[in-house]
Each structure stands twice: as C-alpha cells, then as structure tokens.
Amino acid sequence: MASTETKTTDTAGLAGIEAGLDALESSVARRTPFRQTFVNKILPPVIAIAVVLVVWQGLISFKIVTDPSKLPSPSAVWHTVEDAWLQGTLLDYIWTSVSRGLLGFLFALVIGTPLGLLVARVKFVRAAIHPILSGLQSLPSVAWVPPAVIWLGLDNSMMYAVILLGAVPSIANGLVSGVDQVPPLFLRAGRTMGATGLKGTWHITLPAALPGYVAGLKQGWAFSWRSLMAAEIIASFPDLGVGLGQLLENGRNASDMAMVFEAILLILFVGIAIDLLIFSPLERWVLRSRGLLVKS
C-alpha cells in the first residue's frame, strides 16, 4: 500500500528534512571585512577630528583670533604635550589621575553591586533607598567636593569619597534595572529546573541582568572620571601629586592657555580611551553573545 510505504521512508527521511530545514533557517555569521569596518567606523571620526583641527588652525592662521592667551595654536598645545613627555611628567599626570579613577571605580563596584542587588531583591530596601539612589544620580558630584574636603581633609581619601558618591548610584541603579528587566519566562523556566532561591539568583537572575549591569558600569566609570576631575580641580593641593585636574588648574593660575588646552585634551583622551579599551568591548561582548547587537 502506498501509504505504508511513505510512512517507512518518512522515518528515514525525517533526519534529512530536518537537516535541510536547519541549514535553510540558520544564518551564517560572517566577519565584516576590515576595509568595511575602516570605511564605516574608523574613517568618519578621524575626518571629524581633522576638520576640527583645520578650523582651529584656520582661526589662528587667518588672524581671526590673534591673542594666544585666549586661543593657542594646535602646534603650541602639541609642544606643551611634547615637553611634558620629554620631561617625563606627562605619564605621571595621567597615571596619578587614572590610578585614582580606577581604584575609586573598583571601590564603587564593590559597594554598588551588593547594594544594587539588595535594592533589587528586598522590597523594603527598594522602597526606602531606590528613590534616593535615582535622585543621587542627578546630583552633580562636584557638589560633594566641599563637604568631602571638610570631612576628610585634602588627601586622596577625599578624592575616593567623591568618586564613590558619583559612581555607586550609577552602578547600583544599573543592576537594579537589569534585574527588573529579566524576562519572567526565564525565572519560570529556571524554577521548573529547580533554580530557586540563591541558586535562581546565581544561575538565572544575575546572568540575565548582566546587560543592564554592564550599562551601569559604563555610566559608573563616566561618573567616576568626571567626579575625580571636579575634585582635582577644586581641591588642588601640591602634596597630592599633580593629576590632570590639577594640571588644568595650574594652567589657569599661570594663565597658560596651552597648558589648559593640554589638560582638557588629556582628560578627554583618557576618558575615551578607558571606555574604548575596557567598557565598550565588555558591553559589545555581552550583547553580541546574546544576539542583542545587530550589525548595522
């Protein structure tokens, strides 16, 4: 009979049909060629920077701005950077600030993470603290500098205090929103597999909340860096060692506009570099491994 024949071939052919469907429906991820990455991602910002430099140089060359104490030429700023490099102080400035910033950020991480978890999971704590945490995020951390100086004096601990007050709310809030956005389906699936209580938190909630947490870390770093610069500018004190903020303040006191520009550019450069080297790759890795980052 024809129908029994088809049935016996069915079981044998099933694997084949399935393999065909699998091949048709899954997309093969291809690496974007470097040329394309270069044209789409690297070239545009390079051009933008070049345009800024050309306009800047143009303002000087065409005598639109003639007073070098208002606007130094790009080459003058470059010479200041070069001098600092040759004197060996450039890396000192950068390292003083970066080490403070990163150490402060690590403290913020150690405090912000359990705090965020507590706020996310314990109803009473959430009701009590969450609005305050959100509010603190909108308070410019420079406002903490005067009290920190009064409480802790002019030393490194005051810098760290300002960084903590700036970064902890971002990190904790990031984790809270990450936990809030965990799809309930994952929690149910976890529970049917036996992931309840602490096991559920460890195996399901925390990994599921990672994208929000990483976004919080990224913002936390930006806040750490800004708070630190504010603290260094306001509370500059020779014994503290010269960081980038102090460099800026020193430039202002010496009316040395080239030094002021040098400091601003270095602050910008370090902030971007840390983000590009640490936080952006981390975020991309987390999102890409979950298929949340669509190639544009």
Partner: protein
C-alpha cells in the same frame, strides 16, 4: 501543601494525578473561577493532550501541575518534578545550546565530569549533533525548540509538560517536530501532557485528547485516539477525528456568544 510528590518507594501508578482541582484568581469585584473541578490521570508512558479555546485555563492547569502555582482546591500528585516546555523556547541567551542543557543537569545534581557527555547525547537525541557550542540566537526557531526539548529531557523527569510548544513555528517545521516528538516519546517512554488549541495537532500526537470548555475550564469530553503511530496530520483517520472534535469545540465556543 496541595501539590505533593509521590514517595519513591510507593509504586507509582500515575505519572500525574489531578484530583478535583479548581483554581480561582482574585479579581476586582470578586473571585474569578478559571478551572472548575478538573480530574485527570496520566498513566506512565501515556501521551495526553489538553485541548481548548482561549480562556479554558489550559496553561493555568499546566502551571499547577508544574508546581509554579497552587490549586485553590483539590490536589495534584506527580512522580517527581515535571519538566516544562513553553511556547517560547525559554533558552537562556547567555549560555550556548549545550550549556543550557548542562544547567538542567547541574541543577539536577549530575556531577561535572558527566555533564558534557550527557548534553551531547541529548543533542544527538533531538538530532542537533554539533550544535553544542551554538548560541541561542544562531539557531532557527525549530532548532531552539529542539534544544529546549533536550533541556527538558535533561531533567530526567518522568513527566513532560508542554505548553503549546510548536504554536509559533511554521507549518513545515511543526510537522517535522511532531514526528520528532513522537519518536522521542516512543524511545524514552515518557509521559507527556501536551496543551494546544490546534485540534489536528492534538489528534496527530496523543493517545487521549481531553477537551476543556472555557470560562471556567471544565472537562467537556474525552476521546481515545487509537490510530497507530506514526501518524501524519493529513491521514484520513486523523482528519476524520479532528473534524468530529472540531465540531464539539465549535459548539463549546458558540455557547459563549449567546448571552
């Protein structure tokens, strides 16, 4: 507690026993009765489908059997913790296909050095050999549901609960997965309680089809399907019985339009 697990030494006659279960939810303006006096026994190795239109509480019932919720009255006994498969694959996107399965094994207490091999075995069972290192988003809809099935099987439960697991798939893929599920059910001797609103799917898969009425969910009728496996969804006996059940289902739905 209303949901109890059978003791290991007790001889198990039922993979799941649902006895006079009712469930109501608190609503503004009183209680809403969702399930009304449901009694179903699922024998070991039996494949039962629960069929019903929207609002019959079939997913609620499955949640109760899975232990995700408690019945208002009545009792549910299952042989161990049942595995549950959802309409959405519910695979964890931060883990690879293989690691998803391994998590189920880990939570069941399988020692670390055995997990990898077991996970590969389960992937082979759903014919996804080589998908171990694949991320969830790299898999097609049908492949995801097969990994989800492998993960559910990894729980080594005697009862597999399925909540419209193929509803979101295209017809060809669904057809293939019906064949797969039948094959795996026959190979493993699992009991399956499968919820669907698709009559043909219910008849294609089950040994017994239970029709639930809607609002509140009550058992309306029950059919024993003795068409031999492997069945095809387009086989004449399947189509015939589907037609009969569809007529009854339509009658149930029609009642709700006559107020």
């Amino acid at each position: 507690m209303a949901t109890t697990l059978a003791k290991a030494d007790e001889s198990v006659e039922h993979a799941a026993r649902i006895e006079h279960v009712s469930k109501s939810f608190a609503q503004p303006g009183g209680q809403q009765l969702v399930l009304d006096d449901i009694s179903i026994d699922v024998a070991p190795g039996e494949f039962v489908t629960l069929l019903g239109a929207s609002g019959c509480g079939k997913s609620t019932l499955l949640n109760l059997v899975a232990g995700l919720d408690e019945p208002t009255t009545g009792a549910i006994t299952t042989d161990g913790r049942p595995a549950l498969m959802f309409q959405e694959h519910a695979l964890f996107p931060w883990l690879t296909a293989g690691k998803n399965i391994e998590l189920a094994l880990k939570l069941r207490g399988v020692p670390k050095n055995e997990r990898r091999g077991k996970a590969e075995e389960l992937l082979e069972l759903v014919r996804l050999k080589g998908a171990y290192g694949k991320r969830v988003h790299e898999l097609s809809g049908g492949m995801r549901q097969r990994v989800a099935l492998a993960r559910a099987l990894g729980q080594e439960s005697n009862l597999l609960l399925m909540d419209e697991p193929f509803a979101a798939l295209d017809a060809i893929t669904r057809d293939v997965l019906h064949d797969e599920l039948t094959r795996i059910w026959q190979e493993t001797g699992l009991s399956v309680l499968f919820v669907t609103h698709n009559v043909r799917e219910a008849v294609r898969l089950a040994q017994r089809v239970i029709l639930l009425s809607s609002r509140p969910g009550r058992i309306a009728r029950e059919w024993t399907v003795d068409i031999p496996q492997p069945r095809r969804i387009e086989d004449a006996p399947v189509a015939e019985l589907s037609l009969e059940i569809t007529e009854v289902l339509r009658g149930e739905i029609r009642r709700h339009g006559q107020h």
